[in-house]
Amino acid sequence: MSDKSSADILNRRKFLGAVGLAGAGAALGAKPAMAEGVKPDPLITEIQDWNRYLGDGVDKKPYGVPSKFEKNVIRRDVSWLTASPESSVNFTPLHELDGIITPSGLCFERHHSGVADINPAEHRLMINGLVDKPLVFTMDDIKRMPRMNKVYFLECAANSGMEWRGAQLNGCQFTHGMVHNVMYTGVSLKTLLDEAGLKPNAKWLMLEGADAAAMNRSLPIEKALNDCMLAFAMNGEALRPEQGYPLRAVIPGWEGNLWVKWIRRIEVGDQPWQTREETSKYTDLLADGRSRKHTFVMDAKSVVTNPSPQAPLKHKGRNVLSGLAWSGRGTVKRVDVSMDGGRNWQTARIDGPVFDKSLVRFYVDFDWNGQELMIQSRAMDSTGYVQPTKDELRKVRGVNSIYHNNGIQTWLVRSGGETENVEIG
């Protein structure tokens, strides 16, 4: 539908004057013959503003923004989760997206002391500790190194953490939106470490950010040398400030907290540091009062994004069920979908690229006649891991874990199409 209140259109109408109005009148008079029982659609039979008046010139939006009709497609936060917006998280609107790539502007944010906005010309990366030669790099130095492009998902370990004790938030944006998937461009961490030269007793790294939290975490050397990167671009453009511009760590398949943003220093050591993030926060408290630490890998997980509470079913008849699956241990091999709360399953169709430690997109085309559905999805990865039910997970982990909740989600679709986050027993 046209947006009659738009100041732009009103201005153009004034400018174009009577000619435009006469044209519109002529269009109103020209009604085609009606098919029985179906009224002609005025969107077809009447000339629309966008079909007559000039649109914006090429330089109106030199960096481009989404259509104003997509203004609902935004990250959202849950204000009661955190004490202040500078140490907080917002959520990717998974139900509004498709394919496997998350637009840069919709990748969920999580900061500990706000977004550092750093001039790349003033950014420095230091490597020190158990190295032959402590070094300092500028962004220019890093951009002269051999580059790589990789698509990886980044999931916060606390994603779905609000659901350990039961269904709490009504929308996959809130229950599963602390995940995104982009193409990173950068250099391998091994390239940088080789420049400094590792001492034989180098076993762990400490990654440290340049933000006001000076975020730090310990990373085992095997992982660092295997597939980690320092990235300066995502989805073809420079990192966004909220994603760590000008430089961030990329730790494929491992919890998002390790992907230190605004990275300024790597210290090489022989044991982990036990930083605040890896002791007081990203450890998993189990029912017996003991805690797992260094639970870095994100387990295989999936979620149906459509339908979901913010994207209910609107039509009877043909529908498309769509969702995302991922695994920190490798590739997604298969996704099964149930419409009856896990009694019976069918294998979904994965469409689009299947990369290592990346989101995959799955679909089930189905007919809906208004019956109640309990929709679930279940991911399997290349190591044979099968996504557990929430109850299977609670049996092993209790409900005090906070992190690493990869249990199977249930959406209840009611006869009117409303879709709810529910727990089933």
Partner: protein, 234 residues
């Protein structure tokens, strides 16, 4: 110029450009191969100067590596805490609003709602020192002296009944002798053995469970920050 002549000219230019580009690529490949033969290092970056390392290398590890010289008492820490920290964390570390609680919680880790504090949960005292020094006070990071951080850490120990008396002094010499109550309760990730039942060859596809019943609903909890309006079905 006629249209056909223009097109021919463009084609000719492209041909020339391609030939030039090809020879450049060959030259680059040869140069790259030569470089690879002479050195495995890129030679990028410059040595970090001692003063630069000193400015940034402030981290403190669980074994005490990185602790700066310094000292502070519980009493001194109390004064600094009330001025710099209490507005968020409460006078006794009990927390204000949703800011972190720093004290209490002993014996709650098996409870339904555990209080994970420095005293009840954190395995290492170094974590408190490292974090205060790098990130606190919130919004004015790195404004405290090393003695201030020792004093604040001492006050946190006192609030959690790990040390007694306001005259207790924490310093770089006695720091690693402090044992945290929950230190023994952490163990390395064992999911691949403890959860090996989640690796399955053929997950069930048919009649896998009894008829499910809804046992809980997010809408009953009613904390979702969004519109609750339902759809219209055609």
């Amino acid at each position: 110029m006629s249209r056909s002549v223009k097109l021919a000219a463009v084609a000719l230019l492209c041909g020339v450009a391609l030939a030039v580009a090809n020879s450049r690529i060959e030259a680059q490949q040869i140069a790259a191969q030569a470089a690879a033969k002479t050195s495995s290092k890129l030679g990028l970056g410059r040595p970090a100067l001692p003063d630069e390392i000193k400015a940034w290398d402030t981290d403190v590890r669980a074994d005490g590596k990185g602790l700066p010289p310094g000292k502070g008492t519980v009493k001194q820490g109390d004064v600094i805490f009330q001025a710099q920290c209490a507005s968020c964390h409460g006078e006794f570390g009990e927390g204000a609003g949703r800011w972190p609680v720093l004290s209490g919680g002993a014996g709650t880790l098996k409870a339904d709602r555990p209080d994970k504090t420095i005293g009840s949960f954190w395995p290492d005292l170094s974590t408190a020192f490292d974090y205060i020094k790098r990130a606190m006070p919130y919004g004015n990071a790195r404004s405290l002296s090393d003695d201030d951080v020792y004093a604040l850490t001492a006050y946190l120990l006192s609030m959690n009944d790990i040390v007694k008396g306001e005259n207790f002094e924490l310093n770089d010499r006695n720091f690693t002798s402090i044992k945290m109550p929950n230190a023994a309760a952490f163990y390395d990730d064992d999911r691949e053995t403890a959860e090996k039942q989640f690796w399955k060859k053929d997950p069930c596809m048919k009649d896998c469970r009894s008829a499910p019943k809804v046992t809980g609903r997010a809408i009953s909890v009613d904390v979702t920050p969004d519109s609750k309006s339902g759809p219209k079905v055609d």
